[in-house]
Structures are given as structure tokens and as C-alpha cells.
């Protein structure tokens, strides 16, 4: 068993506030949503489990274990949610079979099944896109996912996959390490507003809305 303080990247004897803050940041970093399309999702899951255990130990030893925000609970709820969401997407067994194969890293078999499919409908483009994403063929993945969304604009699962792709790009390109106060100029108010405006327009493109008033 590793030292729980070490797991959370803290010095021994850190205060509860510090523990909570570190925990929140690490959960964000290793969140399964962030690793959904990544071949290392199993490693991230394991890391998160370690972080949860360390957090539980530290918080319990501080004596108020029960009221804490528990990531696990939230996670179970989320699982439930995604299950419900994908339920109406496309209810055939082949679709799920291939999706599970991709999720479990069984790429060769998934590719074989995809190749054997005769009908190239939106779900085919979606799955092939996901598979390419996992294998590192990002350009093709983007093309296919966009195609799937075009073919079936009402399918939220496809849209979310495409949004994840764009969000991952933005998240890294504008990462706080790069845009923190430094010898670089930090983004000014004008840029901030434009970014918000762009985000709002993007959301509206996909039927949602970020800022209600415009």
C-alpha cells in the first residue's frame, strides 16, 4: 500500500482543505470521461481507484468520513445515466458487441467485424471512427465521426463523440500551463469574450445553448 499522502501528491500532515483540493484536481485529471477514447483508459481507472482509496483513508482518519463528496457514488450514477442515454441510440447486438470490443482494446477483432459488415450506415461510421481514435488515426477518426453525425443528426451519442474530439483539442491547446501569467501575455478580456461567444455559437450549432440571453 502506497502512502496516501504521496498518492495525492501532498506533504504528510496536509490539512483537510488541501486534501480536498488535491483530490478534486486529481479526479478531474483521471476522470474516465477524459480517457473514454484513449487506449490507456484501464490505467486511468486504476489510478483513480488508488486516489479514491487514499482519499478515503485520509478523510476517515480525520473523522468525518460520511459526509464527504464521494466520487464513487457520483460515478455509479453516471454509469446509470450513460446506460440510459445509449439505450435509445441503436439497439442492435452487433453494435454493442463491437463497441465493447473497442472499449476493451480488442481492436483486431473489432476491425474484422466492421470489415465484414455490408451496410455502411451511420453506426458503422461511428464505430469505425471510435476505433480509429483508439488506434491513433485521428484525422480519419474526425472525418468518419463527422460523417456519422451528418447522416444521423439527431443521434446524441455520435454528437458527443465528436464534441469530445473538439474539446480535447481545445483543452490541451489552451491548457493553463500555457496560458498562465508568464512572459507570455495572458488572454485579455476581449479574447475571453470572443472565446465565450464562439463556445456559445458552437453549442447552438449542436442544438444546445451556453449563454441563454444571446
Amino acid at each position: 500500500m502506497k502512502n496516501p499522502y504521496e498518492v495525492l501528491g501532498l506533504k504528510e500532515g496536509a490539512s483537510i482543505e488541501e486534501i480536498k483540493k488535491a483530490y478534486r484536481e486529481l479526479v478531474k485529471k483521471y476522470h474516465p470521461d477524459r480517457y473514454r477514447d484513449n487506449p490507456l483508459s484501464d490505467l486511468a481507472e486504476e489510478k483513480l481507484r488508488e486516489i479514491n482509496e487514499a482519499y478515503d483513508i485520509l478523510i476517515k482518519s480525520a473523522g468525518n468520513g460520511r459526509q464527504q463528496y464521494s466520487y464513487q457514488q457520483q460515478r455509479q450514477q453516471q454509469r446509470h445515466n450513460t446506460g440510459a442515454r445509449t439505450g435509445y441510440a441503436n439497439d442492435n447486438s452487433m453494435f454493442y458487441q463491437i463497441k465493447m470490443m473497442i472499449q476493451n482494446g480488442n481492436y483486431v477483432q473489432a476491425q474484422q467485424l466492421l470489415d465484414s459488415m455490408q451496410v455502411r450506415d451511420s453506426s458503422w461510421y461511428y464505430l469505425q471512427g471510435l476505433l480509429f481514435l483508439r488506434r491513433g488515426w485521428y484525422d480519419r477518426a474526425g472525418v468518419l465521426l463527422r460523417r456519422a453525425v451528418e447522416m444521423e443528426p439527431g443521434n446524441m451519442e455520435y454528437r458527443e463523440a465528436l464534441n469530445r474530439l473538439n474539446n480535447q483539442y481545445t483543452g490541451y491547446r489552451y491548457n493553463p500551463y500555457f496560458y498562465r501569467q508568464s512572459y507570455h501575455q495572458s488572454p485579455d478580456m476581449c479574447q475571453f469574450c470572443t472565446t465565450l461567444w464562439c463556445a456559445d455559437s458552437l453549442c447552438e450549432c449542436f442544438g444546445g445553448d451556453l449563454i441563454g440571453c444571446c
Partner: protein
């Protein structure tokens, strides 16, 4: 090795810079030992990064000394002593430079080829005996690459795959722990892809003039009446998306590594250096990069 993997120097603390340069000097020294003093010219930043990354996974403290060397005879510099990571990085640097020169000679009949090959030959042969399995993999991927280039593949994903896999093999080679090996491999894969595509963009002008193969020219259907600048403007956004997305995948793998030391230096490279390099090569300007030049 192309030398694209570099830190954002002005943002490093002075001690961090000294340590990074210490690895760079360490690799240089190891190359001199393996391939002779003239062999040092093949040294690249990429190899320094590889040494830094692999050594940072070990918990023993950095060992090094202030030393003088004949390239910089005046002032003593901090130099990391030879360890397994530094040695491996230097070997890889020699091997990849050797293949690169060979390739250049075959493609362009570039005269630096044979001269470099003669210089590196002895070291290369020694290293080949050291890691036969790895060299075998590298040669396999390079021959894939050659075939794809001859076929003039028009997909950037496909064209960059062999070099990406080559780097995957290199980065994961020395690690024994299965999980860390997987994460290191994914770092290598994505860095390899990034290097290949960035280099392709960087070479556009030369390739158009010489008529050589370049995956971007084919994928985005370069037309002869189009000026190079127009073409670059046309493909900049798409190329940027792919390059930055590739880096973001690399960052995810990096987050999963069990880094024992030099973390802030590595983070500088992962979160700043590589992005800056991408922007500089693609010539993407925005407000925050106006004063990017070191003071």
C-alpha cells in the same frame, strides 16, 4: 531525430535549464564515446528528452559533475554522468541518424550522407549487436515507411504510422513494468506521429520545389497553379488540429507515468515546449505569442 522536442526555455527556472542541459551534455558525451568525437554532430534535443524522460522514472538522485568539454572549453558545465537512460538515448540517436543519412543518400544523393555514414558506421555496428530485437523492429518499420512513400499514400494517418510505431518501440523498450511500458509506448507513438507530420509541414516548400513525396501535398491535393503560401494557409487549420490532438493524447499518457524526479522540466516540455514548436512551425500567431522571442 529531428530536434523538435525542446523545452520552452524562457519559462524554465535556471536550475531546470542547467539540469536539462546536463542531460543534453550527458548524451553528447555518450555519443562521443560510442561513435567518436565527430559523431557528436548528430546530437539532437529529441535524444536529450528521451534521456530525461527515462531517467525521471527512476528514483535515485541525479548524478552529475561540473565539467569542461572541448566544445565549450571556457566555462564548466553541469553534465549528467552516464547512466542507462543516457546511454540508451545516445545509442538511439546514433542509430536513427545513421538511418536518416542512409535514406537521404538514397533519395536525394545528398553528399552529407556517405560522409556521415562513414563516421557513424563503427558505432552503429556496435549498437546493432547490443539490441538486435529493437533494431529489427526499427528496420521493419522503416521499410514499411519506404514502401508507403513509394506508393505515395495520401492519408496522413497512414503515412505517419510507421514512424509513430518506431518511436513507440523505442520509448517503451527499456521499461519492465507492463503498465508503464504501455504508457511510455503511447507517448512514443504520438510523439513519432507529431514529429513526422510537423516535419512534413516544415518541408512543404522544399518538397514542392524538388517534386518529392509529401503526404500533406497529396491529402490536401496541392495544385500547381497554387502558391505555397496559399496552400499552407489552406491546410494550416486542419494540420494544427491533428498535431495538437496528437499532443493531447501524448499528454494523457504522460499523466499516467510514475515520474520520480525532474517533473517540472518534463511538464514544461509537455505542456509548453511542444505546443510552441507546433505554432512556430505552422506560423500560427495570436495575441499571446507576440512576444514569444526570448529576451
Amino acid at each position: 531525430m529531428f530536434g523538435y522536442i525542446a523545452p520552452d526555455k524562457p519559462d524554465l527556472k535556471i536550475w531546470e535549464f542547467e539540469v536539462f542541459r546536463g542531460y543534453y551534455c550527458g548524451v553528447c558525451k555518450a555519443i562521443a564515446k560510442q561513435a567518436g568525437h565527430i559523431g557528436r554532430i548528430c546530437l539532437s534535443y529529441d535524444a536529450a528528452f528521451l534521456a530525461l524522460l527515462l531517467d525521471s522514472l527512476k528514483s535515485d538522485p541525479i548524478k552529475g559533475k561540473l565539467k569542461r568539454c572541448f566544445v565549450h572549453p571556457v566555462q564548466k558545465r553541469f553534465m549528467v554522468e552516464k547512466n542507462s537512460a543516457v546511454e540508451f538515448a545516445s545509442d538511439i540517436n546514433i542509430i536513427l541518424s545513421y538511418y536518416n543519412l542512409k535514406d537521404k543518400w538514397q533519395d536525394e544523393k545528398n553528399l552529407t550522407g556517405p560522409i556521415g555514414l562513414v563516421i557513424l558506421r563503427k558505432g552503429f555496428k556496435r549498437i546493432k549487436r547490443k539490441y538486435p530485437a529493437l533494431i529489427n523492429e526499427i528496420e521493419k518499420e522503416l521499410s514499411f515507411l519506404q514502401k508507403l512513400e513509394q506508393k505515395k499514400t495520401g492519408f496522413m494517418d497512414k503515412a505517419s504510422e510507421p514512424f509513430a510505431r518506431l518511436m513507440q518501440n523505442v520509448f517503451s523498450f527499456t521499461e519492465n513494468d507492463e503498465k508503464q511500458k504501455k504508457a511510455l509506448g503511447w507517448i512514443g507513438y504520438n510523439l513519432g506521429k507529431w514529429i513526422y507530420l510537423l516535419d512534413a509541414f516544415d518541408d512543404l516548400e522544399d518538397n514542392i520545389k524538388s517534386g518529392a513525396y509529401n503526404p500533406l501535398l497529396i491529402q490536401f491535393q496541392y495544385k500547381h497553379e497554387e502558391s505555397i503560401q496559399d496552400f499552407k494557409d489552406r491546410i494550416r487549420e486542419k494540420t494544427d488540429f491533428n498535431l495538437v490532438f496528437t499532443l493531447s493524447e501524448m499528454e494523457k499518457a504522460f499523466s499516467l507515468l510514475d515520474i520520480k524526479k525532474n517533473k517540472s522540466i518534463l511538464e514544461n516540455i509537455v505542456y509548453r515546449g511542444l505546443l510552441l514548436k507546433t505554432r512556430n512551425v505552422l506560423k500560427i500567431e495570436d495575441r499571446s505569442s507576440q512576444n514569444e522571442k526570448p529576451l
